[in-house]
C-alpha cells in the first residue's frame, strides 16, 4: 500500500481495433471507444465481401468524418488477392482510399503493397493477416520492401511465439483478441474455393452464402456448401454457418469434427501479457456481425483494456465481461485459440 502512490509511467495503451461492416456499426464502435475501426468497400477487394455489407464512397466519407471527429482512425481493408483481369479494380481502390483520406490500408497482396508504397508513399500500410507473415523475418521483409507500419499476426502463433515476433521487429504488431476463429493459416486456405469456386483469397469470402443450402430432412437439419454435406444437426444442436473447417465428417467410420468444434476466440485473460510484451493493437473480428455485436464487444474490450492499463498485474477478468461475450459468440464456447495450446 505504501507504494501505491508512487507515480508510474503509464503503460503504452493497447489500441482497440473494431469491425465495421455497416455505417451503424462504425458509429457504435466509435461511440463505444474503439481507437481504430476497419472496414471495406462493397466489392471483392476485401475479405468480408458479403451482400448488403460494407461501404460505398459516400458512406465511407461520412464514416471517416464521424470517426475523425471523435478521434478514431479508419483502416480500409484491401486484403484479397487481385488477379490480372481485375487488377485495375484493386489499384483504383488503393487510389480512392488515399484520396478519401483513410488512415491506413490493410493489404495482403505483394504486388498491391508494392503499388501502394510506390504510388502513395504517405499512405500508411498495414500487412493483413491474409499476408500469412508468421515470423519476424517475414514481417521485416514487408517492412524493408514496402515500409509497412503494422502487421496483423496470423492466429496460429502461441503467446511465446508472438512475444518473440514483437521483440524483433520495428513494425507494430496487431493480434486478434476476439471473434470467430480461423484454424487454418489465413491466406493459406483454399478449402472454400475447392467446394464453391470462391475463397477469401480470390473473392473475399469463405463459404459464400450463394453456395449454402439448409434443408430440414428426416435425419435433421442439413447444411451444404457447394453441394457438399457439411453437417447434420439434431434438434438440440446449435447449428453453425457451414464453414468447411467447422463441419462434421467421417474418418475411418468416426463421425466428428476433424478440424474443430465451432468456437470463438476470446483472449481477455491474456490482456496483461499482451500489453506487457508490447503488442500495439487488439483486433476484434466480425465485420459480418450486427451492430448489437459490435456494441457489446467494443464496450467490453474498451473497459477491459482500460482496466488492464490501470491495474496491470492486478488485472482480473470480470465475470460480467465474459458473460456478455459468451452471449454473442458463435458456438457458445470460447477459447484462447493458438495463444494457449491445449492441443499442443
Amino acid at each position: 500500500m505504501a507504494q501505491a502512490a508512487a507515480p508510474e509511467a503509464p503503460a503504452r495503451r493497447l489500441k482497440l481495433v473494431c469491425p465495421a461492416g455497416t455505417p451503424p456499426a462504425l458509429k457504435i464502435a466509435v461511440d463505444q471507444g474503439a481507437d481504430d475501426v476497419y472496414l471495406g468497400f462493397k466489392d471483392e477487394t476485401n475479405a468480408r465481401n458479403f451482400a448488403g455489407l460494407n461501404f460505398d464512397e459516400r458512406s465511407l466519407r461520412e464514416g471517416i468524418d464521424y470517426a475523425h471527429r471523435k478521434g478514431a482512425q479508419v483502416l480500409l481493408a484491401l486484403n484479397t488477392f487481385p488477379q490480372p483481369a481485375t487488377w485495375r479494380k484493386w489499384q483504383s481502390a488503393v487510389d480512392r482510399a488515399a484520396a478519401l483520406g483513410v488512415d491506413a490500408i490493410i493489404v495482403a497482396d505483394t504486388g498491391l503493397l508494392a503499388y501502394a508504397s510506390r504510388t502513395h508513399p504517405a499512405l500508411r500500410l498495414h500487412l493483413s493477416v491474409q499476408g500469412s507473415a508468421t515470423s519476424h523475418e517475414a514481417i521485416n521483409f514487408h517492412h524493408e520492401r514496402f515500409g509497412i507500419r503494422r502487421a496483423v499476426l496470423p492466429r496460429v502463433l502461441s503467446v511465446e511465439q508472438a512475444e518473440k515476433v514483437v521483440s524483433r521487429t520495428p513494425v507494430e504488431i496487431e493480434v486478434f483478441g476476439f471473434g470467430s476463429l480461423s484454424i487454418m493459416v489465413e491466406g493459406r486456405c483454399a478449402l472454400s474455393s475447392y467446394a464453391t469456386g470462391e475463397s477469401p483469397n480470390t473473392h473475399g469470402g469463405c463459404s459464400p452464402a450463394r453456395a449454402v443450402r439448409w434443408q430440414e430432412t428426416p435425419r435433421g437439419l442439413e447444411s451444404r456448401l457447394g453441394g457438399v454435406l457439411i453437417d447434420r444437426f439434431a434438434a438440440a444442436d446449435h447449428p453453425g454457418y457451414p464453414t468447411l473447417c467447422r463441419g462434421r465428417f467421417v474418418v475411418n467410420g468416426d463421425t466428428y469434427y476433424p478440424f474443430e468444434e465451432p468456437t470463438s476466440l476470446n483472449t481477455l485473460e491474456l490482456l496483461p501479457r499482451l500489453q506487457a510484451m508490447g503488442v500495439a493493437a487488439i483486433k476484434i473480428e466480425g465485420r459480418q456481425r450486427s451492430p448489437v455485436y459490435v456494441q457489446t464487444v467494443t464496450r467490453v474490450w474498451r473497459e477491459a483494456i482500460d482496466a488492464c492499463a490501470r491495474e496491470r498485474e492486478r488485472f482480473r477478468v470480470r465475470p460480467a465481461w465474459q458473460e456478455a461475450l459468451a452471449g454473442i459468440s458463435e458456438g457458445r464456447q470460447c477459447t484462447l485459440g493458438a495463444y494457449h495450446r491445449p492441443w499442443k
Binding site: 461492416g21 448489437v292 454473442i328
Partner: protein, 151 residues
C-alpha cells in the same frame, strides 16, 4: 449482453392472435414496412427481392405474415408457393431484433431464429437491416420491451 431468456407471449394472447384472419395482419405489416423501411432499402436490394414472397412466422402467436416485393414496394401476399425465405421466431425476439437489443447471429446459433430458404438473400436482408439507422423507432421499441419485460 448474454442471450436473454426466451420470452413467449402469454398463452391467451397467442390463442387470440391465432383467431385473427391472416390477410389483414399481412396488409398491416406490409403497410408498416412501406412506411418504415421501404425508402431506406437501397433500390438494388429491392430489385434483388422483386417478385419474391417472404414469410415471417411468429411462432408463439401462431401467425405467419406473408408479403411480397412488387414494383419496389412491400405488398401483402396470400398463401401461395413456397416463399423464398421464411423466418421463424417468437414475437419477443422479433421485437428485440428490431430494437437492436438482440444479435441476430446469436439468436440463430441458439435456434431461436430459424431461417429457411435462400441463404444469400437472407444475409442480404440481414445486412441491409443492419445498415438502417432508425434510432427513434428503435428507441420506442426498446422502451416498450423494457416496460413489458416480465420481472
Amino acid at each position: 449482453m448474454s442471450a436473454p431468456a426466451l420470452r413467449r407471449l402469454p398463452r391467451p394472447v397467442g390463442a387470440l392472435a391465432r383467431r385473427l384472419p391472416r390477410l389483414p395482419a399481412s396488409v398491416a405489416f406490409a403497410t408498416a414496412l412501406n412506411l418504415t423501411l421501404r425508402r431506406r432499402f437501397p433500390a438494388e436490394v429491392l430489385d434483388r427481392l422483386e417478385g419474391h414472397t417472404f414469410a415471417i412466422a411468429v411462432e408463439d402467436a401462431g401467425v405467419e405474415l406473408l408479403f411480397a416485393v412488387r414494383g419496389r414496394r412491400f405488398a401483402p401476399a396470400a398463401r401461395a408457393a413456397e416463399p423464398l425465405l421464411r423466418f421463424r421466431a417468437v414475437a419477443w425476439d422479433y421485437a428485440a431484433l428490431a430494437a437492436r437489443e438482440a444479435d441476430p447471429d446469436t439468436l440463430f446459433f441458439n435456434r431461436r431464429l430459424v431461417v429457411e430458404g435462400d441463404t444469400e438473400i437472407a444475409l442480404l436482408v440481414k445486412n441491409t437491416l443492419d445498415t438502417i439507422d432508425i434510432p427513434r423507432t428503435r428507441g420506442l421499441l426498446r422502451r416498450a420491451l423494457r416496460a413489458l419485460a416480465p420481472r
